[in-house]
Amino acid sequence: MFPTPIKKRTRGWQIGYQAMIPVVLIMWLLPLLAVMLFSIKPEADFVAGDYWSLPSSLEGFKNYGKVFFESDMPRYMWNSIRITVPTVIGCMILSSLTGFALGVYKFKANLWIFFMFIAGNFVPFQILMIPVRDLTLDIGLYNTVTGLVLFHVAFQTGFCTLFMRNFIRALPFELIEAARVEGIAEWRIFWYVVLPLMKPALAAMAVLIFTFIWNDYFWAVVLTQGSETQPVTAGITSFNAQYRAAYHLMSAGSIVAALPPVAMFFLMQKHFIAGLTLGAVK
């Protein structure tokens, strides 16, 4: 293990280390802690120019209540859910198919198609922006959740295919051969042999895509407008324009908007990290 395990060091080192971690952590998260502090302060504190002292009264309930009941925030959150969930499902379906095809079969174009998915996945969004916006307008899906979902599913298929294909490659191929010898149809092999084994990879992928899409801002402003369809990331910016100096509401709103991916991360931590670090070890 590197660095040398702290247990092998002197008692002094150990205590010093244990004391240092929380200090470093607080420094690391300082900007976030500030927002948390802001979100429970009363408006009067900001008016009085008193930003950093302890809140003169705890107004957490009031601030968050306002965000939930008197702003467009719940609407934006609902839109985010309507965009994110179908995208995740769509990606899981498409990429388990493509991943299976590229992971199991040997044919000439295999590696080329695989590389097409990878290369497309790295493309800057701006080169897609004008044509995708036009296409979405042409098929009458501009400013609809469906239009945004269709694009997200298509684009994320690149990353997801990479993910699933590499996962399937790592499965023991004998399983598939054994099934073929038994005369089982190929689609049945997919459905009954490979798909059940893909569950952990699908879970990891779902958490990642959920976070990516929830946090997307660019496509939200390119393909949608207004509180009827825009997700929470775009909502925050219009919230920002509306409540510019209302730091207590802005911070409460931001925390609410950030919460779902954070919750997802803490609930599914193992899957999340397994997904993100795919390929980081051989």
């Binding site: 293990m1 590197f2 660095p3 702290i6 247990k7 150990q14 280390y17 971690i21 470093v24 998260l29 300082l30 900007p31 976030l32 927002v35 950093w52 498409l94 198919l97 493509t98 590229l102 079969y105 044919f107 097409m116 290369a119 497309g120 790295f122 493309v123 800057p124 969004f125 701006q126 080169i127 897609l128 922006m129 004008i130 044509p131 296409l135 269709l150 298509a154 684009f155 690149g158 073929r180 190929e186 689609w187 976070t211 929830w214 946090n215 801002y217 660019f218 990331t233 910016t237 908007a257 950030a258 991916p261 997802m264 803490f266 990290i273 993100l276 670090t277 390929g279 980081a280 070890v281």
Partner: protein
């Protein structure tokens, strides 16, 4: 192997060609979507960049005129320089992530929770990160301004209001989640470092920096490669932070190509799709250099695997 024909002479065409046909059927929906929404648009953008087009009326073919205009456009030049700053400085996330991961790679009580909390900035959206940092930098009450004040420094107009400091300020904000991402990659990498090699090196008297440089970092190569890929892609995709923190200001000094393109194409003063597409093409060409390198590395690895 599929059973040969003479066993069952009446097998359907699909049955006989199952192994060849199945992958095509399985690939069809994914490839179709990807081609329509990703591959084809890249070529369309190239085409649009040769036109003058407001997005509504008739497009007028003007050849390479948009690119000629780019050469004289000061705002484009600033954006290009800023992109370069992003590319270089964003890479700092890799060593910073490595050091945090080394700091956290211990087995003490609660370390799992600490690791997740350190990773936290990556999970929240860049919009929220941008908002948080613009308060952090606020010229009247921001903690950063106060801290600078303690050591007697002052940035005129605040970090985000100062034409020289602004890009660095935004990059620093971007480094925060990016470092967290690199950290998690390295933590996973460190987990799989071969303990025998480390012990052997220790017996040979290697420790500290030497051990890190000659024994550990070579073993972390896959993690470094991925950290490099995601950091470069992240640097060239920087849009959200600029959009929420400065909208490209002050005086357009914090623009990058991705933001400038958006601004031109969907400008409030009339869409300039052709010009926007030309900017996007430049950005794409920069990315293409890296994409080619990534694919080449992956190809080498694929070859090695078979």
């Amino acid at each position: 192997m599929p059973a040969s024909k003479y066993e069952q002479p009446k097998r359907s065409w699909y049955k006989r060609n199952e192994i060849a046909v199945t992958p095509i059927l399985f690939l069809l929906p994914g490839v179709f979507f990807f081609a329509v929404y990703v591959i084809y648009p890249v070529f369309q953008s190239f085409n649009i960049s040769l036109y003058k087009w407001d997005g509504l009326g008739e497009a007028e073919f003007i050849g390479l005129k948009n690119y000629q205009k780019l050469l004289e456009d000061r705002a484009f030049e600033t954006s290009l320089w800023n992109n370069l700053k992003w590319l270089v400085l964003y890479l700092l996330a890799i060593p910073m992530g490595l050091f945090i991961s080394l700091f956290l790679n211990q087995k003490v009580t609660g370390i799992r929770l600490y690791k997740s909390l350190f990773f936290f900035p990556f999970v929240i959206s860049q919009i929220v990160v941008g908002l948080v940092f613009s308060w952090f930098y606020d010229p009247t009450f921001g903690i950063f301004t106060k801290m600078l004040g303690l050591i007697g420094l002052e940035i005129k107009g605040g970090v985000l209001g100062n034409p020289t400091a602004v890009t660095y300020g935004i990059i620093a904000a971007g480094l925060w989640p990016q470092t967290a991402y690199c950290m998690i990659l390295y933590l996973t990498g460190l987990n799989s470092v071969d303990p025998e090699q480390v012990e052997a090196a220790r017996l040979d008297g290697a420790k500290g920096w030497k051990m890190l440089w000659y024994v550990i970092i070579p073993q972390l190569k896959p993690a470094t490669f991925i950290a490099f890929v995601v950091t470069i892609v992240g640097a060239l995709r920087s849009f959200d932070l600029i959009s929420i923190m400065t909208r490209g200001g002050p005086f357009g000094q914090s623009r990058v190509l991705s933001y400038y393109m958006f601004e031109k194409a969907l400008s409030e003063y009339g869409f300039r799709m052709g010009y926007g597409a030309a900017i996007a093409v430049v950005l794409f060409m920069i990315m293409l250099v890296f994409i080619a390198y990534f694919l080449w590395s992956m190809y080498q690895e694929e070859k090695g695997a078979h």
